[in-house]
Amino acid sequence: MPIVSSFEKLRLKFPGTKELLFEDLSLSFEKGEKVLLLGPSGCGKSTLLQALSGLIPNSIEVPLKYADCTYPDSWGFVFQDPDSQFCMPYADEEIAFVLENLQVPREQMPQRISELLSLVGLDLKDPHARINTFSGGMKQRLAIASVLALDPEVLFFDEPTAMLDPEGTIAIWETVKRIAADKTVIIVEHKIEHVIDFIDRIIVFDAAGTIIADGSPDEVFPSHQTEFEKYGIWFPGVWDQYQSTAVSIKTPDFPLKRKIVLENFTGFRNKQTKLRIQHAEAVSGDWIAVTGKNGAGKSTLLLSLIQLLKTSGTYQVNGRSIHSNKDISSEAGFVFQNPELQFVTNTVFDELAISFRQTHASQETMEKKVAELLQLFHLANQRELHPYQLSMGQKRRLSVATAIAKNPAILLLDEPTFGQDAKNTFAVLELLESYRLSGHIIIMATHDSHIIQHFATKVWNVVDGEVTVKEAEMSIPVEVGHAYLI
């Protein structure tokens, strides 16, 4: 088979860093191969993808050196963030943008556009559809369609499903399997459950960007379990592994019983009813998983509970009626989906200290408490850094730390494990579990049926704003699209 893409002795260095990212890395890809690149966060998988396509150094200026290389004749690149790869407001215009770049005659465009859209399963009534009304999964399929307009020989995917719900993830990989049978496909992905049966070669990197394994999935998976575990890669069966190492603790009795009661509770956005709860309760030691499709109202539920949205009906915490954000602010902490939007100060230390300064705690207590939190969340070495300088996992831990600094009875979290690798996910989940076991209530929006199975005590399922309460021990509401396939 001819080689379509290769590097020999690749060296690459990011400006401002001391160490080389790759030191004499050599690898090559044959025509038609379906390759998965795995490795810990920050090992340079995405960078390698950009170098293989030529985006580095043509579009992204990073110095690199190599003895020899082959660039594919034609290639397409699908990026991670569905919101930052389009430049036009409408779906047809976005694909047309690519066709214009290729100087395709205008007369042929409408035909090509509808062909490409139906190829990726986006059967829009009118291709002139607003992209910002699309779900994440639809946006990524549009991205694939616009990349297919390039008629690529090689397709690069840089974590295309990191920001999607399970339904969108499945739709993406189904699409890729359909369209890429005869193409070379190189994929970087953390959530590998849905691609693994499509892949015929896996390359594993260590943290320094050196190849530690290269072969078919059947060879690589059994022999490299420990590395996968160490690097936080979502390998098949990672949850079974986790279950066997984790010590399961029954919910103990708590001396101080905390309780939330919701009765005929309604949440509004822009004066429209967006959320209804007939009756729901939560007590100390509850871990409530808020489930539902994207847009069903999970965030609305959390924002209603923290009283950032207008609500009506009964809402009591420990017998006290809650009517405004002031009533709840000392009782509840909130973790937003994007940690960066949650930071309000310039250092990790201040980020935690601010909660204690607000309560006018003494300098000593404050110092002591912050140090404890930093220790607990493994951020002690980062205390003087700006929150934005932290890694993805550190940012996530800090955002959780800021929410529990005041030791609130209730912790509300909006998909805190979104886009995190396995290591970070388990780190956050374990911190939350210990918080729950100390008698607090956790209410967390999540898509992940594994998290629900392993941690949740109750499930509040949201369908079109209507909340139904289910016991977690009973069968989990696994909608067709939400089921993991392994």
Partner: protein, 266 residues
Amino acid sequence: MPISFDHKMTWLHKINPSVKLVVLACLFVAVLFIHNPNVMVLFAIGPAILFLFFTGHPFKRILLFSIPFLLIFLSTSSSMILFGKGETTLFHWGLIDITVESLYRGMHLGFRAIIYAMLGLTFALTTSQVLLFYSLMQQLKLNPKYAYSFMAGIRLIPIMIEELTAIRYARMVRGIQNTYTVSGIFSSIKGYSIPLLSQSIRRAYRIAVAMEAKRFTDSRKRTYYYQLHFSRYDLLFIAYFGLFLLLVLSISGHYPLFPVVDVRSL
């Protein structure tokens, strides 16, 4: 939440956007040189007719959009009317000194502001931004690099609005109170702008890379999905304002509403 303004298509939508832009730019300059209040007041009728009846938007929305511009009219004219210089006093009370001169000048300024507002709004309400940039590339030879950058930039605005809401919520949850001292306002501005900017800069950079990955280059050689031409509507638009201007000039000459012909020489 997507913001959309559904509307009917009218002849104003069918005008070539570049023609519309150039005609309006000329009118902006022309209005600057109108010093005769008779002409100014009559001329305001022209844009008003288009703005009120031909944008294709529901009347309710038109009225809603008019509110801020009426405020501009009131504020620009009233400050001149109430505090302007003049000799023939009509009304005097404390600092307020309304004179005939200031009244004319104030009204004149107010009408100029409202003409600008109506022309600008009419343009905004009847022009699709995508078609505007396609037309600028095709008729006015704008470099595609800038045109597509602008279009990509416009896509970021609704995302930024969502992020702004998220930051506002986060600050409330974190117990950051907005204080209204100078340093307080400064720190709020910092609190909002740094995360917003950092997110937007990174997103803009990613979009740029994505655009290049889709083979967008510096080259001006490309085909266009939308081909824009000149049409009789362009002529109609030019003729509308041309004839209207002539009509206004002759009417104001023969039947002046006010005895003043130049607000500068009062």
